[in-house]
Symmetry: C2
Subunit: 333 residues, 2 copies
């Protein structure tokens, strides 16, 4: 691997994404991408007694599904990277505790999936054969933890995003037919002082902008190198901000750019305001929709930039602003 600029690593032997799996909740199952998901749940509980246990079950079954789809024996998978939004990342540790694979817990809020793919790629580039990546979120467990009890029926402001119920899981490998992870651009923490915990898109857009512009500069690429540039989950408002920020930096991304949080829900019909969010948003949109587009060569070069808001409910109560982060990977076939 070689360093390009200060934040980008280009792989000499780009890791292959062998397979992906995704399981989503009922709201996602009624959205525009429903047909791409491997399994659509009819209810948020999936037979469990709590939302947290349901989320762990989604994580577990998604990981089992990708292992099964890939045809790779579980005991050949050498490492697992996993994370989620719940306190102390319990969806991942409870969901994957039976996996019997060396486990690295990661936390990048909604950037977790791409953080995992990035670190896993470094391992695979350097001799590891198979690595599993998992990320998840659950609307109910997240709302309860970060905002208000669902039973209150609180009104949500128009800037708010809807946490995706779902998990995405991928296996990447040293050898294979692609799609290949050709480079990673890892983000710095960017905090522009946004304090509104109901406007995550605005808080995270500057981090996405920083990583995206750095990626262009480090690689010498321009927006039209890619068939698609996808942010993790800036939602409608953050998407517009990013387009503006890029324009101000001299990059017109309009024609190739979209956002996973915008794609996963129908804004008019699903009442999700600014769009989807959560670790499971980017993970399921990539694992369900984008991976299949790459496999079928409908997309040949994409840049996936997952964004995270590195705060908790207490930090907002203590008057803190919301630091953002964004990790990018380029995937080509």
């Amino acid at each position: 691997m070689q360093k390009l600029g200060k934040q980008t690593i280009k792989f000499d032997n780009p890791p292959t994404i062998v397979d992906c799996a995704t399981i989503v909740g009922p709201k996602e199952s009624n959205g525009p991408l429903a047909k791409y998901f491997d399994k659509c749940l009819e209810d948020e509980m999936w037979g469990e007694k709590t939302w947290e246990k349901a989320e762990s079950k989604i994580v577990k079954e998604t990981a089992n599904m990708v292992i099964s789809k890939s045809g790779i024996p579980a005991n050949k998978i050498e490492y697992c990277f996993a994370g989620d939004l719940l306190n102390q990342c319990i969806s991942s540790s409870f969901g994957l505790r039976d996996l019997n694979i060396p486990f690295f817990g990661i936390f990048g809020a909604c950037s977790t999936f791409v953080e995992g793919l990035s670190l896993a790629s470094i391992l695979v580039e350097n001799g590891i054969n198979y690595v599993l990546i998992s990320a998840s979120s659950h609307f109910c467990s997240s709302e309860k933890q970060f905002r208000f009890p669902l039973e209150l029926g609180n009104q949500r402001p128009p800037t708010s995003q809807w946490t995706v119920t779902g998990s995405g899981s991928s296996i990447i490998a040293k050898n294979g037919q692609g799609p290949f992870i050709t480079s990673i651009t890892s983000g710095k923490i960017v905090d522009m002082g946004i304090k509104d915990a109901n406007n995550m898109g605005a808080a995270m857009a500057p981090a996405a902008h920083s990583t995206l512009i750095t990626h262009f500069k480090d690689t010498g690429r321009s927006p039209n190198y890619y068939d698609a540039i996808l942010t993790g989950d800036l939602g409608h408002i953050g998407k517009d901000i990013l387009i503006d920020l890029c324009k101000n930096s001299g990059y017109n991304i309009n024609s190739v750019y979209n956002d996973c949080g915008v794609l996963i829900f129908d804004k008019e019909k699903q009442d999700t305001h600014s769009g989807g969010s959560g670790c499971g948003c980017c993970a399921s949109v990539f694992s369900g929709y984008l991976f299949k587009q790459l496999k079928e060569k409908k997309l040949k070069r994409i840049l996936l930039i997952a964004t995270g808001a590195l705060m908790n409910s207490m930090s907002s109560q203590q008057g803190e602003s919301i630091p953002g982060i964004a990790h990018a990977i380029s995937i080509e076939i």
Copy 2:
């Protein structure tokens, strides 16, 4: 790098630990290792308005201190791995948001520091020059989050451990004089069904045992290869359990084994029951005490096994057991 067995990586060009720094709270400053810490705080708040902000300040100042001690310009440090115990790892993201270094958030509970050293070593082995690692915990913010309001003055059972207030930070590099990280043995999640959140030592000891025995088998080493084998924070009870488990597996570790949670407090005088715990325990005992012992060649070969309990307060309320994990690194000079 080469794989030994299924869980161990041996480095061909072992990364050097360039320098370490540690800042601890008042209780740690009255413990047996006080003279080894870089800065001992007189109060838990350090001039901040909340415990959470104080923890972030400790993280920030410890990272600044290791950068300053190392003499490496901050802009030469290519990546940062950091994590802590607070929900969504806010001590790390708020503490390090001004660092301007590509940032990977990690969560391994009290195993976080060694998880960071492990991943950083893989990057450095493969061409990255400098990586910073940070881990922290704070007694007051942890008690409040995981157990009861401190103001309640709840009695603590004899099996409970005392979360260390402190942060440890290290910089590792491709070239240097050592000590060198020669191998890593990364742990699987091990859950033996322990449900007592006031007995973390018992919950984590089986994970430590699994990683330790795997390390011996993967490397062909025996306990007496090392001058010291240190677990992260099993405390007094977990330490005794690990000795027994190893004995049952045919390994006598008695003469070389100790635990960071046992070393950091004086059991008789400091009323800390089963000893220290928290991400900051292993991080500060290593960065303060062990690193200096290695530098002065009082210890020449150590195995550091940090252990984590991958639960949160809600998982225990929902009747879940406590999954443990343990990551090991061997450090030699």
